[in-house]
Amino acid sequence: MGVTVGTLDLDAYVGAADAAIRAASSTDALDAVAAEYLGKKSQLALVQRTFGSLSDEEKRTAGAALQQVRSTLDGAISGRREALAAAERLEQLEADRLDLTEVVPAQVRRPLRRGHQHLISQTQAELEDVFVGMGFTVADGPEVETDWYNFEALNIPPAHPARGMWDTFYLELGDPETVVLRTHTSPVQVHLMEEAVANNTLPIHAVMPGRCFRRDTPDARHLHTFHQIEGLVIDEGITFTDLAGVIQTFTTAYFGPAMSSRLRPAFFPFTEPSAEFEITCAICQGAGCRTCSQTGWIELGGCGMVDPAVLDAVGIDATRYSGFAFGFGIDRCAQMRYQIADMRALVENDLRFVEQF
């Protein structure tokens, strides 16, 4: 039983439109069908314009009926459009098909241009090379860690105020605030020590470069994602003066023979005694300038003798072995060497920046 509005039999109208929609064989054809049955010049639109002569009640009934037709047809058209678009995409992809085994490499264009390694990976490689030359192996570690590796085994128990030294990103895994993005490369120390104890392979002489994360709003000087390199020596007879010597050797090897280092008392939960290490200010060569607050020294990183509590946590006999650890920013080395004003350039990957290195 057909509903009629004005001169229009709605069922017949929908039937005809449906057939046309199904018959449309391309998205272009479908656009034409849509215009014919739903557009400004469609019969539907024409009928709507005759509503002026109807009573309010009639207007409401007729309007609802037309709205019903519109939404039915809209649904049919969009369904058809999806199917057609998918078919058209398939057709295009098929026309585009390439047998990759028929590629003749000799015929591929080869630009006469070398690429550029990222400044940070270059810097990391240079640092690694210096330490390899000093007898260190290079170790990697994961970027996601548990509370144990990032904090507790490093003598930073849960809720310890020292945790405030690191703004931490937590992951939605396990119990709240138990899985973290590592805030430093120090967890790799714990892994190395645990493995060395388990496999009976002490001593350890290793550096550990890697990506770290801290929940600091990025600005020109800091990014929340950054790179550190950390060193660990665990052996018999290792002393604090050995640490001072290794820092000095590294400083001249990496920064140049005119550069010196000095240690200053500091606090880190995982080392005792602890120190900040500073190197000669490269800008004023130690004479004192604004950058170094007139001191002639620039802070580079932290270091110290591995805390006996850390050795205890990983099961190393602290009466036989002693050791030191040190760490500093790879990004910071690059920043210092190239006077990078805004560190965000490192992740923007703008060709004009990338090509400088």
Partner: protein, 829 residues
């Protein structure tokens, strides 16, 4: 922490050479963040009374001012307008040096001689007002010629901004800093009394009472009652010292408490005695959900566990005689018992709380105070008595009728025993590398309050102001630090350890370096794209359950760990395209993450309190991805690039499998072009370890690259390259024949549906053992070749080590090749 030199000098006859003090602080581990000179350059500035103001012909910005500065009238040209005849202003006479080494000279401006400069407050380093001259008209004693420093009561001083490390609770006070300095510089320390009248003789009031119901959280609670309080302003020198240290003066009671905290390091809290029940204070744990409104008028809910490990909701509180909570211990007092203008009697709390408990509560409530920062580090449990006495000494300056209820009531909790470190002197040498004997250790430690006894075996008694020094055995390291710190880090010798094992990179690290250098050699630029990405982007193609989310991201767009390098690398291409930089061929070597719930082999590792639990962590894989977006780049570029790269990987032969089996590829297969991509498969093992081809055009558009270019793609699972099965045994060198080789070219027409590789494989199989290479060198479609087919031209090279091949040999192999091709439907052209 701001430390005025003048305050330090009241304790010890320290040298006043600022550079020496600064260097000494630095070497003691008290980092000098800044040094501010107060009243510097004021000695020549005098008060001047304006006696005449007249215009200068032709000048509308400056006027001629005549002043009386105690001598003959002086004329000065001045550009300020905020004063009238009769005002008193500061004058920098000719020859004066203003802050910033600005020397005042006699000048002539617009024909008028100017004999000095009238100054603004900022020019004198006395504040930020630069709108006009500093007006002294209403200041008492500002007579012409008077020195401005005297008139304003400014004593030149030096303020050091120090940051004391977390393990130096003793150093977070003026006295603590002085003690450290004096020990190094060898000068005595004395604490001066503030009043002549001893508090001990003040009229007594009824004593207070103290109790501790949470002995593990409070070592000692000292409570003292006092009457005769008049709440008023503090004396000028107290206000000056508080302000020099960056604190605001409130009233004499609060100021006395702050003064003592700054000077000695002991936080105290004064309660209005009439707003408490009884003169009794107690310490207990908060009941669950117990509330208090703190001084800052915020209602705080206590006794609720916090997030994360180690906070089970143990909040320490102070209660009155009715067990009503009147303060959050060590953090902040309550509003209801606050000292107010009408306070006439008070009860003073001075205590020593557990650092961990105060830290937990302060962190959970997001409420840090001067007191909580000190308690977090640890406060000397024996300091409360001295601090209480000092508090009343200060208060007595403004309250002559003060009556204190001596003795203070003292309750004890679990008082830590005195720490004694026992170790052979050689143990310190073993750790430090310094040659030490008992006498040297004593000389270094005694000035800090450590008692050193013994000879070969040392017995070192730790002073109570060093709660950071642990007990045996770990305390040995803490004492070692004190030894080397007082010895002087700057004097430390440098020794160079050596060991017999060589330094080296691991195989995986060498492989990554190789990938970088080869790809750079092939013209690609290395990029660093973000690890933290939009969760919707991370879920693309994998589903929400594959995404590792952050609990506390800085922004929603950085709320998940990346699952693939592709979206951000395409974003880097789009970023450059927006800047009209179109020659972008990028690669990245980076970590991608897979949720442990969907990872085939989740990583399990030690977790939880004490490392006793096991946690499932995301699988981390190192991917290499290259996105080739340069002019003319496409899938063929990627194939050719991999052909160059492959020989440097140390792997056996590979084949390209098309279409790429997405199930074998995991996240590496995301965004692949369905008809222009292939998987890289190891022939010998069948292991899939990479992809080559193009990025799906829909994905390219989604990333914001809309210029219609094709983007070639090369991806490797770098961790898979390291698996033993894939790594090729060291190959033997293939000898080169000394006899001429023979070449034949064969071109076949083959249906598009059959891969060129299939034909090549058939040719290689048919050509036999003397084939040394078979290379596709030309592909042709068009005139002469049927639609749906192409012509493939191969060059086959034959050779033998022991002879020259004959035409007959080659002819026979040629025939077998043609037959083999025919079986695939390939027709010789």
């Amino acid at each position: 922490m701001l430390v005025p030199l003048s305050w330090m000098l009241s304790f010890a006859p320290l040298p006043t050479d600022v550079d020496l003090l600064r260097a000494t602080f630095d070497d003691l581990g008290l980092v000098v963040e800044s040094v501010e000179h107060i009243g510097e350059g004021l000695d020549q500035i005098v008060c001047a009374k304006v006696t005449d103001i007249s215009a200068i012909d032709g000048a509308d910005k400056v006027r001629k001012i005549t002043v009386d500065a105690g001598g003959a009238p002086l004329t000065i040209v001045c550009g300020a307008w905020n004063f009238v005849v009769g005002d008193v202003v500061p004058l920098a006479p000719v020859g004066a040096v203003l802050p910033g080494d600005f020397v005042i000279a006699k000048r002539k401006m617009r024909g008028v001689e100017s004999n000095g400069m009238l100054c603004s407050a900022r020019e004198l380093g006395l504040g930020g007002d630069h709108a006009g001259l500093m007006l002294l008209t209403t200041v008492e004693g500002a007579t012409p010629g008077a020195a401005i420093a005297d008139v304003l009561g400014i004593t030149p001083d030096v303020i050091f901004e120090l940051s004391a490390e977390g393990n130096r609770p003793d150093a977070w006070s003026i006295l603590g800093v002085v003690r450290d300095l004096a020990a190094r510089l060898g000068v005595p320390v004395t604490v001066p009394a503030l009043t002549d009248a001893s508090i001990a003789t003040a009229a007594a009031t009824s004593p207070a009472a103290a109790s501790i119901a949470a002995p593990a959280f409070c070592q000692r609670l000292t409570v003292t009652a006092a009457t005769g309080i008049v709440v008023t302003d503090s004396p000028r020198f107290i206000v000056d010292r508080l302000e020099a240290c960056g604190m605001r003066a409130i009233n004499n009671v609060v100021d006395a408490s702050n003064y003592v905290m700054l000077e000695l390091g002991q936080p105290t809290h004064a309660y209005d005695a009439h707003r408490l029940s009884g003169g009794t204070l107690g310490v207990r744990l908060a009941a669950p959900q117990e509330t208090i409104t703190t001084l800052d008028e915020v209602a705080r809910v206590l006794g609720v566990p916090g997030r994360g490990l180690g906070d089970s909701g143990e909040d320490v509180v102070i209660v009155d005689g009715d067990d009503v909570v009147i303060g959050i211990a060590g953090v902040m007092g309550g509003a209801a018992t606050e000292i107010h203008d009408g306070t006439t009697a008070l009860v003073l709390e001075a205590a020593s709380f557990s650092p961990m408990a105060i830290a937990r509560t302060s962190k959970k409530l997001g409420l840090r105070s001067e007191a909580s920062s000190r308690f977090e580090r640890g406060v000397d449990p024996n300091l409360a008595g001295a601090a209480t006495e000092r508090f009343f000494q200060v208060l007595r300056l403004t309250c002559p009728l003060l009556a204190v209820g001596w003795p203070s009531a003292v309750a004890e909790g679990d008082v830590a025993p005195v720490t004694v470190i026992t170790a052979p002197v050689g143990e310190f040498t073993r750790l430090l590398g310094l040659s030490l004997d008992a006498a040297t250790v004593e000389r270094l430690l005694a000035p800090l309050g450590f008692a050193v006894a013994g000879d070969a075996i040392l017995s070192i008694t730790v002073p109570s102001n060093r709660p950071d020094i642990r007990t045996m055995p770990f305390g040995v390291a803490d004492v070692a630090e004190e030894i080397v710190r007082t010895y002087g880090y700057t004097k430390l010798e440098r020794t160079f350890p050596s060991w017999s094992t060589p330094g080296s990179l691991s195989a995986a690290q060498r492989r990554r370096r190789n990938l970088r250098s080869v790809l750079c050699g092939l013209g690609l630029d290395e990029v660093w794209t973000p690890t933290l990405v939009d969760p919707a982007v991370a879920a693309r193609g994998l589903g929400d359950e594959a995404v590792v989310r952050l609990t506390n991201p800085l922004s929603a767009e950085e709320g998940a760990l990346r699952t693939s390098l592709l979206p951000q690398m395409l974003a880097a291409i789009a970023y450059n395209a927006d800047r009209r930089q179109l020659e972008t061929g990028f690669f990245e070597l980076g970590t991608v993450f897979e949720h442990p719930a969907v990872a085939a082999t989740p990583r399990t590792t030690k977790a939880g309190g004490g490392g006793g639990a096991v946690a499932s962590l995301p699988m981390e894989r190192t991917h290499l991805l290259a996105t080739l977006g340069r002019h003319g780049d496409d899938a063929a570029t990627a194939v050719a690039m991999f052909a160059e790269l492959h020989p440097t990987l140390g792997l056996g032969p590979y084949r390209l499998v098309q279409p790429a089996p997405l199930t074998d590829l995991g996240p590496l297969g995301l965004g692949l072009h369905p008809t222009r991509s292939a998987a890289v498969v190891c022939v010998a093992t069948g292991i899939t370890y990479g992809v080559v081809g193009e990025v799906d055009p829909t994905v390219v558009a989604l990333a914001g690259v809309h210029d219609g270019r094709r983007i070639g793609l090369l991806g490797l699972d770098v961790d898979a390259l390291a698996t033993g099965e894939l790594a090729r045994a060291v190959g033997e060198a293939i000898p080169v024949s000394k006899f001429p080789s023979s070449e034949i070219d064969l071109a076949f027409v083959l249906a598009d549906a059959t891969p060129a590789d299939a034909l090549r494989a058939a040719l290689v199989a048919a050509a036999g053992e003397h084939l040394s290479s078979c290379v596709l060198f030309d592909v042709y479609r068009g005139t002469g070749v049927a639609d749906g087919s192409r012509s493939l031209a191969f060059r086959l090279q034959f050779g033998a080590l022991d002879r020259t091949l004959t035409d007959g040999d080659v002819g026979a192999w040629r025939t077998s090749c043609i037959d083999a091709a025919a079986s695939l439907g390939a027709v010789l052209r």
